[in-house]
């Protein structure tokens, strides 16, 4: 995925951003040692699930009897069908709908409703005309880890020789400072980072590591502080 980012001298470049996943050290094999794959299958469609079956039979007892005698929950034409290229759609009682209005219902930690508002889908700002801004705001790594939880990680990688120098210098600067840099998006460079349109907003922090002639530039994403929820009793001593 491309990302448009600027450095401390306000020079910008489009580089690659790759997802960081855990190292895979364990895999599962069949009893004979051969490899296996996982596929998604259809179990039941909406015309054969519980609400649909109950609608036809009205009473749970009648449905229970039918389940004992036969298999009303199975569609022999589709049961076990491999699922690929699925899509998510909105459905009403009438069927699939394409024109819908979405609302956000904001809930408190205790589950009570706080606010209801029309949903506004923020556009992505990682690969926009305005690059992600090198804010110049640093936080020492040891302070950052005690304040924030980094729930996501991405790695920035160069795409050519020029962007190698561009990113290598960033990583070198950040390693020297032993700090994370706050990245911001938007026209004024004051907005959290949004990866996809309508996606969650994150506070993004850049970390740099250098080893000889190689570098590692990590974008840490945080939408949560490291703190105790209010309703949990504090530990005092």
């Amino acid at each position: 995925m491309p990302v448009n980012i600027s450095n401390s001298k306000n020079r910008d470049a489009i580089v690659a951003m790759e997802s960081l996943t855990p190292k895979r050290v364990v895999r599962f094999v069949a009893p004979d040692g051969r490899s296996v794959t996982t596929r998604k299958l259809l179990k039941t469609d909406v015309e054969h699930d519980l609400p649909a079956l109950l609608k036809k039979r009205k009473k749970l007892e009648k449905l229970a009897n039918d389940l004992v005698k036969s298999d009303p929950e199975l569609d022999p034409n589709t049961f076990g069908m491999f699922l690929t290229d699925t899509s998510r759609v909105y459905v009403t009682e009438k069927g699939i709908v394409h024109l819908i209005q979405e609302f956000e219902v904001i809930k408190n930690p205790d589950g009570t409703e706080r606010e209801r508002r029309p949903r506004v889908k923020e556009p992505q700002n990682i690969n926009a005309e305005v690059p992600l801004k090198w804010t110049g705001k640093f936080i020492k790594k040891k302070d950052a880890v005690s304040k924030f939880v980094f729930t996501g990680k991405k790695q920035l990688v160069h795409v050519n020789g020029l962007t190698f120098d561009f990113l290598f210098e960033m990583a070198k600067t950040l390693q020297k400072k032993d700090s994370l840099l706050l990245l911001r998006g938007g026209e004024k460079g004051d907005k959290p980072v949004v990866m996809n349109r309508g996606g969650r907003a994150y506070n993004a922090f850049l970390e740099g590591r250098v080893k000889g002639d190689s570098y590692c530039l990590i974008m840490h994403l945080s939408n949560m502080e490291l703190k105790r929820p209010k309703e949990m009793k504090s530990v005092e001593h």
């Binding site: 299958l41 259809l42 909406v46 459905v91 609302f103 160069h158 190689s214 490291l226 530990v235």
Partner: protein
């Protein structure tokens, strides 16, 4: 009462109770409601590639298939490492003493986070002053952690300050230091020629 986890730090053993926390517990949550033009509620469902079959939550399953396309029971699968050697299962961390080892900020930052827990003393027991005094000195500790036992451990990092102790569980990320000749390739949209059908000058 939740089962306590026994930790050991500098030879000193103590029990903690772990409570999972997440963003919802701190800030609340946002749910999305959808309605059609007439105000009828709409829900998200999954549409299969045939364009007709709709599925709701619980309507799908995962099957494990061997190279011949035959179904294999999960219970029959064997866990192996990168070299194909059988892996011995690990025990749950709740049934043993877990030794905390000093760790570094960089190791912690290299982790892909799965879960976050608050650590508290079990009811009726003394506080966590010993642990919190170490955490207050900006120390980070780690130990291999498995909630229920299984094929491998996660990494648990213990950090916090003099008032609160947290345990962050995750796995090391597949970080790679990249050299000049290891440039990434950006996906670019395929270029296509403009066809006469795409341009309708009559609309101008």
């Amino acid at each position: 009462m939740p089962k306590p986890l026994v930790l050991s730090l500098d030879g000193h053993e103590f029990s903690v109770v772990i409570t999972k926390i997440d963003r919802t517990k701190l800030y609340g949550d946002i749910e999305i409601e959808a309605f059609d033009e007439k105000g009828n509620p709409a829900t998200l469902k999954v549409l299969a590639a045939d364009g007709r079959t709709l599925m709701d939550k619980g309507g799908t399953a995962l099957a494990t298939l061997n190279e011949d396309g035959e179904s294999v029971s999960r219970a029959d699968l064997r866990p192996v490492d990168e070299d194909g050697e059988q892996i011995e299962p690990v025990l749950s961390s709740f049934g043993q003493v877990n030794v905390l080892k000093q760790s570094s900020t960089d190791d912690y930052l290299s982790q892909v986070v799965k879960s976050i827990y608050v650590l508290d003393p079990p009811d009726g027991e003394s506080d966590l002053e010993f642990l919190q005094s170490h955490l207050g000195a900006e120390q980070i500790y780690s130990f291999p952690f498995s909630y229920r036992g299984g094929v491998e451990h996660d990494s648990a990092f213990v950090l916090g300050d003099q008032k609160n102790a947290f345990m962050i569980v995750g796995k090391p990320a597949a970080l790679e230091f990249v050299r000049l000749n290891q440039a990434a390739v950006l996906d670019t949209p395929e270029e296509a020629e403009i066809s006469a059908d795409e341009l309708d000058f009559e609309l101008l």
